[in-house]
């Protein structure tokens, strides 16, 4: 008997006969591979021997550009302001020190093995470019826990300031909403929009989704407790019978606004599965750096970018040699310098590109890493990874998605915010940031003061090499400037998360880099 081909066999056959693009399309139609628009590394064939490219910035965008261009046969070098590669991809561990604008220096006191990722920290499963290169460069990944039903949701002004379990808010919000909708249907308030058939379907859906009883009421029951948990947990033996839990008052559930965190986690970019590199986000930056070893000159500050019909000249202060002025010449330039910095550099380009460079401000964001003597969130509260949210300025606590059940000190993310609260946190001294995160976090975990060991607070607006966290596009600036920013200007092309629609994510940096080098290659081949 001949069985019909499995999906995998079918895809292999399509791939063999029609090529990878056809396979990709087939996969997409069959429900696979519908991630960002990354398909495969670019095939840059036919580069003219001896063509050179200078890449500005050794973050992920710059290193990827250098890696792929070198593979294609270009002569490549990278200039980097910092004394390390990786850019915003970095991790802080015990022994590291961090100096910010204004001069404050933090010495990280974490125990061996502990770290915090001040920049990128999680990777959605559909960010296929970064996942592709992690695999290609041998970066081990593990699950990052975004959603934890046992984590906490907290509004200082609701429930007497007591944090609620994510699970309870989710169950009650769904149940209470379903109950109201069922009531509206049963009282014939929706007859003008709901047909008799649909009415039946809707009622069935509300009962199942919201756990309503025979009277379409959402109330304390075994059924509801199987979702929101019990007042007395299920046990064994003679006294094993559970006691159901009491739902929260509906008006307060609605008023608390805690549903917004359920909605946040429904975002495409927050959906499971998410990943993190084993051992810290900088495993990715380090893996990229290994691929471009020998190509990077660190400690040089670009001051001018000029181009004419013959090539590109980049002028820099060489901080390896007392700030001596140096120049790098090449046929082409890929510039990944953040716009917050590039907007202050003399760039010779068409007016629309220069205007675009000036048009995109950078967000402020702060992260605080806190180390505690023990994993009280696991030991006392059964919280394993995931995020608790609060209306306080520190906004959230993310528990480590690794090292579960281990003894000894552990680090959690004790604050992470953008917007007004980030401006406020950034304006504090590093010690004040840590203290504020501790003080606010104690409203969620009483163990904070007793178990605290050490912390670090990173304000992105004070990082000397970016002066901000990531690009902030408005609808108006995107319409007016995005195309000008991303199109190659004679011999110069820009890349970085700012030159993408996946802003503030590493994926955006990589996609923009691939788009940039594809343009550059087409330009170079045309010129050859």
């Amino acid at each position: 008997m001949k069985l019909p081909p499995t999906r995998r066999q079918l895809l292999t056959r399509i791939g063999v006969t029609a090529g990878s693009a056809a396979m990709y399309q087939a996969m997409t139609r069959m429900g696979h591979a519908a991630g960002t628009d990354f398909r495969s590394p670019p095939a840059l064939s036919g580069a003219k021997q001896g063509t050179t490219v200078v890449v500005l910035g050794a973050g992920l965008a710059g290193m990827l550009a250098a890696y792929e261009l070198k593979r294609a046969g270009y002569g490549v070098r990278i200039l980097e302001y910092q004394n390390r590669s990786g850019g915003r991809n970095f991790s802080l561990r015990g022994g590291d020190s961090l100096t910010e604008l204004g001069g404050a220096t933090q010495k990280v006191g974490f125990a061996p093995g502990n770290y915090i990722n001040p920049g990128p920290w999680r990777i959605p499963y559909h960010h296929q470019a970064i996942l592709h290169y992690c695999r290609a460069f041998g970066v081990a990944l593990e699950p990052f826990i975004e959603v934890n039903h046992n984590a906490l949701l907290h509004n200082s002004a609701s429930f007497g300031g007591t944090p609620q379990r994510y699970r309870d808010i989710m169950t009650d919000f769904n149940g209470q909403t379903a109950e109201l909708l069922a009531k509206a249907i049963n009282q014939n308030h929706l007859d003008d929009v709901v047909s008799a058939d649909e009415r039946h379907d809707l009622l069935a859906a509300m009962r199942g989704w919201g756990l309503l009883d025979v009277d379409y009421a959402y109330r304390k029951s075994d059924k509801v407790s199987l979702r929101r948990g019990w007042a007395k947990a299920q046990g064994g033996g003679p006294d094993g019978a559970p006691v159901p839990s009491q739902p929260l008052p509906r008006a307060e559930v609605m008023k608390s606004g805690l549903w917004q965190w359920l909605a946040f986690n429904m975002n495409y970019e927050m959906q499971t599965t998410m990943f993190q590199p084993v051992g810290g986000m900088d495993m990715i930056g380090k893996a990229f750096a290994r691929q471009v070893e020998g190509l990077v000159t660190h400690n040089v500050k670009v001051t001018r970018i000029e181009q004419d019909e013959r090539g590109v000249t980049v002028t820099y202060d060489d901080n390896n040699h007392g700030g001596a002025v140096g120049q790098a010449k090449a046929d082409y330039c890929v510039c990944t310098i953040p716009l917050s910095v590039l907007s202050q550099i003399d760039v010779q380009a068409r007016a629309p590109l220069r205007q675009a460079i000036q048009a995109v401000p950078y967000a402020s964001s702060v992260k605080v890493g806190l180390e505690f003597n023990r994993r009280f969130w696991e030991e006392d509260e059964q919280i394993y990874g995931g995020i608790s949210f609060t209306d306080q300025p520190m906004s959230q606590i993310s528990y480590p998605s690794h090292g579960y059940f281990s003894d000894g000190p552990a680090v959690l993310l004790g604050a992470y915010m953008f917007g007004a609260a980030a401006y406020d946190f950034a304006g504090k001294t590093p010690e004040q940031r840590v203290q504020a995160a501790l003080q606010q976090g104690a409203a969620l975990h009483h163990q904070y003061p007793k178990e605290f060991r050490t912390g670090v607070g990173v304000a992105w607006s004070r990082m000397p090499w970016t002066l901000g966290c990531c690009a902030t596009w408005s609808e108006e600036s995107r319409r007016k400037h995005y195309r000008d920013l991303t199109e190659m200007d004679n011999r110069l092309v820009l890349a970085g998360e700012h030159a993408s629609y996946v802003g503030c994510w590493q994926e955006g940096a990589l996609l923009s880099s691939l788009a940039a080098i594809t343009q550059l290659h087409q330009r170079a081949v045309r010129a050859a």
């Binding site: 604008l101 716009l339 401000p361 949210f389 953008f418 917007g419 007004a420 401006y423 406020d424 408005s474």
Partner: protein, 142 residues
């Protein structure tokens, strides 16, 4: 220090808006505590809770790969119109504050900066001056 921290918490907890514009950045769960409104009345409060995150507590700014301009002893503050334009619309890497700060807050903080940090421009900036220069705020993506 604890008193100042307590104040900051109160200031921002009060301003937390659940129906804010929501996370403006893909990776940010920032709507709580980071809503568009900032509750700070005096120019000094606005400076401390917003401006000094970049321009520093002493108004000296900073220099790295690029520069955050010093507001101290800054001759560009002589005409109030310039800082008003910059605060409302942003400049280069600096974000716009139109939509986040009220006319009164912008007026207060500009008046504060123009009379502190070694600046001595005594003509006060009024809310009406700001209102006259304020256009529609940009629309955040998402």
């Amino acid at each position: 220090m604890m008193r100042r921290l307590a104040l900051a918490t109160a200031v921002f907890a009060a301003s937390a808006s659940l129906c804010s514009t929501g996370p403006a950045h893909a990776d940010a769960a920032s709507s709580a505590g980071g809503g568009p409104a900032i509750k700070a009345d005096s120019g000094q409060q606005v400076y401390q809770h917003v401006c000094q995150g970049c321009h520093m507590a002493n108004g000296q700014g900073g220099v790295g790969a690029a520069r955050i301009p010093a507001l101290a002893h800054n001759a560009k503050l002589e005409s109030a119109g310039y800082p008003t334009y910059v605060v409302l619309n942003g400049l280069g890497g600096m974000p716009w504050f139109n939509g986040m700060l009220s006319d009164a807050q912008v007026a207060a903080v500009i008046t504060y900066v123009r009379t502190h940090f070694g600046n001595d421009y005594k003509d006060p900036v009024k809310s009406a001056d700001i209102a006259a220069l304020r256009g529609p705020a940009p629309t955040m993506e998402n």
